[in-house]
């Protein structure tokens, strides 16, 4: 679902949906993006401009989530978010381990970043992130790409023994 460069003068809320196609929101302008409770095959939102908030509460995303350079005037709410490398990365979205599975690098978020109880397998990148408020990571589970590899290697090693 390609909404790159689109200017949507309204909010987009896909609540409790299963989105089988990667959602591309590069350079998209909208009010609020809310995909809470949805399962997404991919979410690429680099340089997204949201005059409202971005909500990913209780969402499950199968591939890297990229909000690099995004400008969000409200909250970034990813409470109970699950991001795991289950699916194949979309062809137009290269996976860079340095960015992790959730990339907020160079993003500007004017309000709170809430990632409470989030589970992110593959790292969280926040280089150059600007936020006016707080970052909440209560009970979040964050594993770097190296940690994922270590765990896989550990399992393989145990099986071998």
């Amino acid at each position: 679902m390609t909404l790159s460069n689109a200017r949507l003068p309204f909010s987009l809320r896909l609540i409790g949906c299963v989105i089988d196609a990667p959602l591309s929101l590069n350079n998209c302008e909208l009010v609020t993006l809310d995909v809470s409770g949805s399962v997404l095959a991919g979410l690429d939102a680099t340089f997204l401009k949201a005059s409202g908030s971005v909500r990913l509460r209780r969402s499950v995303v199968m591939t890297p989530v990229d909000f690099g350079g995004a400008r969000i005037h409200g909250f970034f709410d990813g409470s109970d978010l699950v991001i795991k490398p289950f699916g194949a990365t979309p062809a137009n979205q290269g996976f860079d381990g340095d960015r992790g599975m959730l990339n907020l690098s160079q993003a500007t978020i004017d309000n709170d970043i809430r990632l409470e109880r989030a589970t992110i397998w593959g790292g969280l990148a926040m280089r150059g992130l600007k936020t006016q408020r707080s970052v909440f990571l209560d009970e979040a589970v964050l594993l770097s790409p190296v940690a994922v590899l270590e765990r896989l290697a550990s399992k393989a090693f145990r099986r071998a023994i």
């Binding site: 679902m1 390609t2 909404l3 790159s4 460069n5 689109a6 200017r7 949507l8 003068p9 309204f10 909010s11 987009l12 809320r13 896909l14 609540i15 409790g16 949906c17 299963v18 989105i19 089988d20 196609a21 350079n27 009010v31 609020t32 809310d34």
Partner: protein
């Protein structure tokens, strides 16, 4: 959109409204160009600007466009292309409005488009 979109005369007559006459191909072409803007074709028919009396009803038209094209009740399975087109159509409908009506439409659509519990997929239904 800097110059607007090429209107389809047939679709215009069918829909009975001057501001939501976009044919899917023209809409899709315009949308793919995105913020680069769409230049109107030289032979593109143009609609007359709306009168003051139309302003009030214009604000609701973007919603009607969305409601007509996107109904979770009627479409539990939604294709990404349809959703993309409907979103682009709603946005384009607003952008085509004159400034007073555009502001009213944006205010009207402040709550946004919400779709709940829909399977968005290209896969055919079983």
């Amino acid at each position: 959109m800097q110059q607007g979109c090429c209107f389809d005369g047939a679709a215009f007559e069918k829909r009975q409204h001057p501001l939501v006459p976009f044919s899917p191909p023209a809409l899709q072409a315009g949308f793919e160009l995105g913020q680069a803007g769409v230049e109107a074709a030289p032979d593109c028919p143009r609609t007359a600007p709306p009168t003051i009396r139309q302003f009030e009803s214009l604000a609701d038209d973007a919603w009607k466009f969305v409601d007509k094209n996107l109904s979770p009740v009627d479409m539990p399975v939604l294709s990404p292309a349809d959703l993309t087109e409907a979103l682009a159509g709603a946005a384009l409908a607003i952008e085509q409005l004159p400034p007073p009506a555009r502001a009213a439409a944006r205010l009207r659509m402040r709550g946004g488009l919400q779709i709940t519990g829909v399977y968005i997929t290209d896969r055919p239904e079983d």
